[in-house]
């Protein structure tokens, strides 16, 4: 090989770039090109047209579906936060062995098929299912309660699957907080609750933000759970896209819906970043 070329190729930076190449190519082929093609599909039929975007804003049903999507995502994120934070807190303070066992359980649960987990909820929540019969047997309810195919079951099903994405970042941030800090706060006259509120909680916020972002953005694109566990009103944007693809066969419109969801997600991320200032928190060495 030409010596000069060899030198260039063996330069540390060049070597690093070479190693990155397969990943970059894969990203380009499987991510950039499809998105570009979709963007194209949403704008050309076969000539340039904005009608598929205009349609979205003209017909209230699509705005409504978007609103339902955001609403369900926010509720799911809030539930994940309310359940996940205490869980992560307990986990971070549990013994080494116990927390390891729990973490393995959490990661294993992520390996179980989404469909299986959603169907389990059907069995648990359906009429005369586990919860319904239990409530009647114990005498809390005297009639069948509708637990399935409504907002409740969708939120439960989604939160159950997305919970790890809230717990893990919060846990890892909590774990990295110097255990002396809340102790120090206590020696300075803070009650345990105050020590948590003034010290542990603010320091765990980067984990909360990360979890919030992960869960919310993943929720926005949810498809299977609202389809299986939802009722008539729990139609999310992905269900609408699938409906356009599968039933209506309007792929141009499906592409424009997908692009709108993508843009909405990016806008949300940007606003979130501006408001919360993730970089600023990093500067503090948190």
């Amino acid at each position: 090989m030409d010596k000069k070329l060899k030198n260039i190729l063996m330069h540390p930076t060049a070597k690093g770039m070479l190693l990155l190449t397969p990943a970059l190519v894969a990203l380009f082929v499987f991510f950039v090109i499809p998105i570009f093609r979709m963007f194209h599909l949403s704008l050309f039929d076969p000539h340039f047209t904005l009608k598929y975007y205009i349609a979205f804003f003209q017909r209230p049903v699509y705005i409504r579906v978007m609103w339902i999507t955001v609403k369900i995502s926010l509720i799911v994120t809030a539930v994940c936060l309310l359940v996940g934070y205490p869980f992560a807190l307990i986990l971070s303070r549990a013994g080494e062995k116990l927390s390891k066992v729990f973490l393995v359980c959490i990661v294993l649960s992520m390996c179980i098929s989404l469909l299986v987990r959603n169907f389990s909820w059907i069995i648990i929540l359906q009429r005369s299912g586990i919860v319904d019969s239990f409530l009647m047997k114990v005498g809390i309810t005297h009639r069948h309660v509708k637990l399935l195919h409504n907002l409740f079951s969708v939120v439960v099903g989604m939160a159950e699957i997305l919970l790890p994405y809230m717990i893990l970042p919060i846990f890892s941030v909590l774990k990295s907080i110097d255990p002396n800090l809340p102790k120090a706060a206590q020696t300075m006259g803070a009650r345990p609750v105050q020590a948590f509120w003034w010290v542990t909680f603010p320091l765990s916020l980067p984990g909360v933000y990360a979890g919030f972002l992960l869960v919310f953005i993943m929720s926005l694109g949810y498809f299977i759970t609202p389809a299986l566990l939802g009722g008539a009103k729990e139609m999310m944007i992905s269900n609408m896209i699938a409906f356009q693809v599968q039933t209506v066969l309007n792929w141009h419109f499906a592409a424009s819906l997908s692009m709108i969801l993508l843009v909405a997600t990016l806008v949300f991320y940007t606003i979130f970043n501006k408001v919360v200032g993730l970089e600023k928190l990093e500067d503090l060495g948190v």
Binding site: I33, R37, L41, V61, S113, I217, M218, A232, Q246, A255
Partner: protein
């Protein structure tokens, strides 16, 4: 078509990416077929006990008779057929589809015409014969209820709407076709004067029952599962599947009054490399004895081959949608009326559902 070809793969991947469904399962499940080979034929049908009956009556005998392997797929979505045909990568050689799907597929130019040199039609009933598809069985979508869950037996669609006398959650299929007809019948429209449908009246009637529909089913198996488990007390369901469940001891009952019958057809996606083989299979599956075995022993649908009735006993015939007494109580689903309105009405359906 050729100029605006969209790769199916790219499209699906793009959809998945843009919906930000990061790491959450793929939206559409498509099996990748290997290079064309005459050693096998890929057939896509509706799954569940229905496809199981086809396996026993057609697929396995076909394999035995020809040595050609039958590869099965499930869920013959229009989108998937369209994706396969437009990408020039046709994986399914034969599809079993409902009549309205066939009509849409025809307008989208997705099907091969039936080769009547191979497929013999002289003993096939008239309504089953089309240029792009040959009827396989007649099926009925009927009001079905779980006897254990209801004190009184519902007699018709009006009873389905009557939540006072027939309390309990209900289920219907998640799309506009059939349901709008049922709604009109419940509202008092004569079953023989349904078409053209009064759409506004139908949706108005649908709104009355909406709050009592616990779940909108998407697969035939789902409707039976819900009825069996008692999750719902009444549902629309396909009669053959109900029949299979009954034979397993599930206390389900069919109401023939105001039910809809329609045809399931064999069709061949355009551009399959095994077109001739596909036609041969259809001819094989239309055989009277084989249909009689399927409809007489396995699942209670109506065979399209007139001669098949010669091999089905009288008692069994009474359970079939095509039995004259049953036929008289039903209406024929009008796919031709639906086809041009399908997309618009399905969009209206989606909007109505979430409103």
């Amino acid at each position: 078509m050729g100029k605006k070809k969209i790769s199916r793969r790219e499209f699906l991947k793009g959809t998945a990416v843009a919906t930000a469904a990061a790491a959450v399962g793929p939206h559409i499940f498509v099996r990748k077929a290997t290079a064309a080979s005459n050693k096998k034929i890929v057939i896509c049908s509706y799954g569940g006990s229905y496809q199981a009956s086809q396996r026993k009556a057609f697929f396995e005998p076909f394999e035995k008779a020809t040595g050609i392997k039958v590869v099965e797929a499930t869920g013959p979505d229009l989108a998937k057929i369209k994706a396969q045909v437009t990408s020039g990568n046709v994986e399914w050689d034969v599809v079993d589809i409902e009549s309205r799907i066939m009509y849409t597929a025809i307008t989208e130019n997705l099907l091969e015409p039936i080769d009547t040199n191979i497929v013999k039609l002289n003993t096939i009933v008239k309504p089953a014969i089309h240029k792009y598809g040959i009827g396989n069985i007649a099926f009925t979508t009927a009001l079905t209820y779980n006897k254990k869950q209801l004190k009184k037996a519902p007699k018709n669609w009006a009873d389905f709407w009557d939540v006072k006398n027939f309390p309990g959650p209900r289920s219907l299929q998640d799309h506009a076709p059939f349901n709008l007809e049922f709604a009109l019948i419940a509202d008092g429209v004569n079953k023989d004067k349904l078409y053209p449908l009064d759409i506004d009246r139908a949706f108005k009637k649908m709104s009355q029952i909406k709050g009592n529909i616990d779940a909108w089913w998407e697969s035939g198996a789902q409707s039976i599962q819900q009825l069996t488990s008692g999750a719902v007390v009444m549902s629309s369901a396909w009669n053959g599947r109900v029949n299979v469940a009954q034979s397993k001891g599930v206390p389900l009952e069919i109401v023939w009054d105001g039910a809809a019958y329609d045809w399931d057809l064999w069709a061949v996606p355009k551009g399959t490399p095994r077109k001739e083989l596909a036609m041969k299979f259809i001819q094989f599956a239309l055989d009277a004895k084989r249909q009689a075995y399927q409809c007489g022993k396995l699942i209670a649908y109506g065979p399209s081959n007139k001669l098949a009735y010669n091999y089905i006993d009288k008692a069994r015939q009474k359970q079939l949608p095509t039995y004259p007494d049953n036929l008289a109580k039903q209406f024929s689903f009008n796919s031709k009326w639906w086809q041009p309105r399908l997309n618009k009405l399905n969009e209206k359906w989606a909007a109505w559902k979430i409103s």
